[in-house]
Structures are given as C-alpha cells and as structure tokens.
Symmetry: C2
Subunit: 206 residues, 2 copies
Amino acid sequence: MRAVKAVVPFKTRGAKTRLAPFLSPEERMAFSKAMLRDVLRSLQGIDVTILATEDFDPGCDGARVQLNHHDLNTAINAYIRRERDPTFIVMSDIPLIREWHVREMFSDGITLVPGRGGGTNAIFMRDPSHFKVDFYEVSFLKHVAIAKERGLPLKILDSFYMSTDIDKPEDLAEVLVHCPGDSCAYLRSIGVRLSYGKSRISVERD
Amino acid sequence: MRAVKAVVPFKTRGAKTRLAPFLSPEERMAFSKAMLRDVLRSLQGIDVTILATEDFDPGCDGARVQLNHHDLNTAINAYIRRERDPTFIVMSDIPLIREWHVREMFSDGITLVPGRGGGTNAIFMRDPSHFKVDFYEVSFLKHVAIAKERGLPLKILDSFYMSTDIDKPEDLAEVLVHCPGDSCAYLRSIGVRLSYGKSRISVERD
C-alpha cells in the first residue's frame, strides 16, 4: 500500500462554544489544543495535514498546518479531490482515540467511525478522490449512502473511544474517567473534577 | 470452557422515567421490552436469566425470569456468588448490541464494557464468584479497581454500540440512526422520528 496520510481539521477561533459556561475563551483554546495533541499522538508516523483557518504551532513533529478559509466540507473535499494516497480524516475533538484505532481503520474502501448523535468522527478512504464528505446533521447516514452510491466497500468501526467527541460540559466527564493524556492533564490543571449527581456523573470546578 | 450463562437485570415498574416527557408510562414499558428483546437476540444460544422484580413474559425462547426484590447490586452479587460458569451481565437498555459483541467479550478474567458517563454496560466474568459488582456513579472505575484488587486479568471492550444506553429522549436518536431491530421498529410505529436542530440531532413525534 502507498504511504498513508491524515487530515485533521482544526478551528483556531470560536471553537467549542458549547463549553462556554464552563471554560473561558482562553481555556477553550488551550483545551482544544490539548485534545489536538492527543489526536496527533495517535497518528504518530503518519504524514498529517492540519486544515486550519489561521496559522498556529501545533506543538508536534510531523504535522503541518495548511490554511483554508472555507467551511469544513468544502475544505476537506478540495483536499481529497487531488489526493491519491490512502487518507484518514480525523476530528480534533476525540481525545480518547488510541494508536491502535488507526490500524483498525484500514480497509479496502471506506471506513466510517460513528460519533454520538449521528455524527462521523473519522473516515478512512483507500482512494480519497473517489469519495466526498458531507458533515453536519446525520452525517453518518449520509456517508453510508455516499459509499453505497459509489460502490465503495464499507466498514464501520465500532469504537466508544472514537465516538466520544467533546462538545458540552458533561462530555468533559468522559475525558476525566478515561483520561487519555494532555486533555485530561489540562482539565485537572485548571481544577476540573468529576462530580456525582443522582444519575449520571458530571463535572465541577474548584 | 464450561457452558456460558448470561444475566440481564430488568425493571418491570417505573423504568426509564427520564423518557417521561416524551413517552407515556405504557410506551416506556413497551419500549423497554423491545430493547430487552434486541438484547436477548444478541445472546442467542446462551442460557439467560432475567433478574426482575415481578414476573412477566419476555417473549423469547431460552430466557427465564427469576424474581428478585433487592437493588441491582445486591441482586447481581447474590446471583454471581453461587455461580461457577462463565457469566455475562448485560444491561437491558443497550439495544445496539450485536451477536458478535458477545464473542468479543470472552476473556480469561474480567471484561468490562464502558457506558457513557462513567457507567458499565456489560461485564464478562470467567469466574463470577471471584468478582463483585458495584453499579451506579462511576461504576466503570469501580469495576476496574475491583478487578485489579482481586488480581483478575482485565480486558476493556471498546464499543460505541454497547456504550449506548438509552435513558433520555436524545438517546432515542441513536436507536433511529443505527436502527437495531425491535426497539427501532417500535419507535417508528408510534411516530418517533429524527429531527435536525442547529447542532446535534434529536427526536420529535408526529
């Protein structure tokens, strides 16, 4: 197989607004970068392009930033249209991802990794130029349909860790329970800890 | 290996109260039973005991109801204390479980299947009498600690489908997106369908 590449979209402004009541804008940015580092660590040894709206230092060898001012779908589709090498698209807010997930994503066609709420948290494409992404709404079902329409073999990777994207304060509990690395360490450093309600757990701050 | 058994706790009254604004008490009961049938289907060929607070017809061959009026932990611990055969404990509200998950749970010691929010949605025990369950709060971390204290080999099964327990109206979207069987058919039969908001999807009724 040819060299494998990865694309990680990353928002450098206004990211993770749903964490707003809980984290300040600076904390949200620092936490987003910590999650990105956890994701990049799982992609070690792979040539990674971070699609970002402005330049920044990802603080990680082997990952380069490519500027793109379009929306997520336009940016990714422009990238994969020209790409001939097998490519992963991995969201930057799934810090529970581990290195072994990347191996499990390899397939002969398309691998989709479902996120909670009908989302798609990662895609592997053996031939990226044969596929088209369509994120937002129930993107998982849209991606299943696109793979079928185009006759591409489809694998679904069933992973709790990869399904867990961190958007809302209650999602921070998943980071603290399964404690993946930089993002868990960051939350602890600013005093975020698990709290126990009557039913599900949540988080609170010192 | 000896014959394998499974235990599925099931609440026959007051189940799924967090679905209350969305489903009537009768609908919650019918939906709970549909989820139970989806779970029992994944356990085909295994001797299943349903631990319930009152007798009812699970509508499924090979599953028998055993009455137990204690709380979940007391009921399960009383059961496994006497059990010498390898045993699965599987929650009844994880309808996305598939038959192949059951094979993946086999291990030489304890297998834990994390649920969202720090929960544990299933446990496999090679020697049930060597283990003790402790559900509620962050049961996943408690079960990891119990396995370690007792020197039992520990496997964690990373599954999105099994992590998805259905508690709140928004969880119903997972059932409709991944549409496992009876529980999906039941929701459709009473007019529940996906709805698209600004960010995450949810559900609405006709």
